[in-house]
């Protein structure tokens, strides 16, 4: 039996849906228990596979939102209009269902406390998901970390309460926000798209040589990564992930 577990082979696993957590009106987290899960690093993703009665299948990738914790894997899925997989996850999937997945996948867009800091995270929309796995793994690591979070409105901000609590639990973590479309009364964060001035004010400067992770819609990632280069960060310190298509 030992030999069937060929190293590097990613088999499909059957996960149990343990909990569904509404994050925003259009985003849900799905807590899964995955018997046979071998563990993961923050930043990695899984492939989900759905199978219809007649054998038709669809697959999509989803970042893992939780730090390594045994057989538990949490993903966070944004509803895409007419989206084949995201609408199934939002409209059909229930606690007690099972769902096929395999992973962990990806080894470049990853960070764990042992890699040290400073750690700079810049996320837009659901691009926050893999960054949250990194932030959640900070714990008592004493790694200086900063996170710049961009969302359209406060209502669209995923992990909102946890994000406001994290810096009180992790003194080395600072979180800054920008809301690009509308802001609630008394809003103290930024109120525009991420730009050079904002990155200059909120992120580690190149002299501190941070490891940078940028994730979000393509346009967001393109512009943030380009500005960070102009601010003097070497390209190999800037790791990016784009959730594709053209993104929201």
């Amino acid at each position: 039996m030992e030999r069937t577990a060929v190293r590097g082979r990613l088999s499909w696993l059957l996960a149990d849906v343990v909990e569904l957590i509404p994050e925003t009106p259009r985003v849900k987290s799905i807590r899964l228990r995955v018997p046979g899960w071998t563990g993961h690093l923050p930043g990695q993703h899984v492939d989900l596979r759905l199978t219809a009665e007649d054998g038709y299948q669809a697959q999509r990738s989803y970042s893992i939102a939780n730090p390594p914790e045994g057989e538990n894997v949490t993903i966070t899925v944004e509803l895409v209009d007419n989206g084949e997989v995201s609408s199934y996850v939002h409209e059909e999937l229930r606690v007690g269902d099972r769902i096929e997945l395999r992973g962990p996948i990806g080894g470049y867009f990853v960070w764990e406390p042992a890699r040290g800091g400073p750690l700079q995270l810049v996320g837009g929309g659901s691009g926050l998901v893999p960054l949250m796995a990194m932030a959640r793994s900070l714990g008592g690591a004493a790694v200086p970390a900063r996170m710049l979070v961009s969302a359209r409105t406060q209502e669209d901000l995923i992990y909102r309460q946890e994000l406001s609590r994290l810096p009180t639990e992790i003194p080395d973590l600072r979180v800054d926000y920008t809301l690009t479309r509308s802001q609630p009364d008394g809003w103290k964060g930024y109120a525009r798209r991420v730009d050079r001035a904002m990155l200059g004010e909120t992120t580690f400067d190149s002299g501190q040589n941070p490891q940078i992770f940028v994730c979000g819609p393509t346009g967001f990632v393109e512009s943030v990564a380009t500005i960070l280069r102009e601010l003097g960060h070497p390209p190999e310190r800037i790791r990016t992930e784009r959730f594709g298509p053209t993104g929201g």
Partner: protein, 201 residues
């Protein structure tokens, strides 16, 4: 294999497209961008393409010299390992057959290398015989930087990570040496029709 996702109906491919879409892929009209780092800005006046043989002989073209080579226009389907496929994409470039014509080599493998340090490995046989190009135009316009411009490799019969963006050259080798994604658990060859996404598939 008998697992069924309760309540999943799915959105089927258009009938005509079905036999052009490899397993696990879906058709998109978008052109998603996937790169591991920032987009490098490369001016054509600084652009070079270099072939390095297993005997360390080098053959280099600058942009103007490259543009003198015979161009080919191709319409191909492309398949990204992140699950999207795009049908009937139109490209213009120089065939690898043209580039390799004057090269004496008995190498069996190649490692494509790019600005920014990206690499990907391919058997040389997959780059010859009208199967691969260095492409600089997409849909009739210069290839945009985020899609790999000024020029990228185009090897449409393999997953699209093999079509290295911002390609700088090819190193011909006797032995296969895993490239960037291939070292991070992606398949060493990457045939979409065999669904060779990850190591061991």
């Amino acid at each position: 294999m008998t697992f069924v996702s309760r309540g999943f109906k799915g959105r089927r491919q258009v009938e005509a497209a079905a036999d052009r879409v490899p397993p696990g892929q879906y058709v998109t009209d978008d052109f998603p961008v996937l790169s591991a780092g920032p987009t490098p800005l490369i001016l054509t006046e600084n652009w070079r393409f270099t072939l390095i043989t297993e005997a360390n002989e080098e053959l280099t073209w600058n942009w103007d010299e490259f543009q003198q080579l015979p161009h080919e226009q191709v319409t191909v389907d492309i398949h990204c390992v992140t699950k999207w496929s795009k049908l009937d994409t139109r490209w213009e470039g120089v065939s690898l057959d043209t580039l390799l014509a004057g090269v004496k080599t008995s190498a069996r493998f190649a490692l494509a290398y790019s600005h920014g340090g990206y690499t990907t490995n391919l058997p040389l046989a997959d780059l010859t015989g009208g199967k691969a190009w260095v492409a600089f135009n997409y849909e009739g316009a210069p290839l945009r930087p985020e899609h790999g411009g000024p020029a990228r490799l185009l090897v449409p019969h393999l997953y699209f990570w093999k079509s290295a963006k911002w390609v700088q050259g090819l190193r011909l080798m006797d032995q296969e040496s895993p490239g960037f994604w291939e070292s991070y658990g992606y398949h060493i060859y990457g045939d979409p029709w065999k669904e060779q996404r990850y190591a061991g598939d």
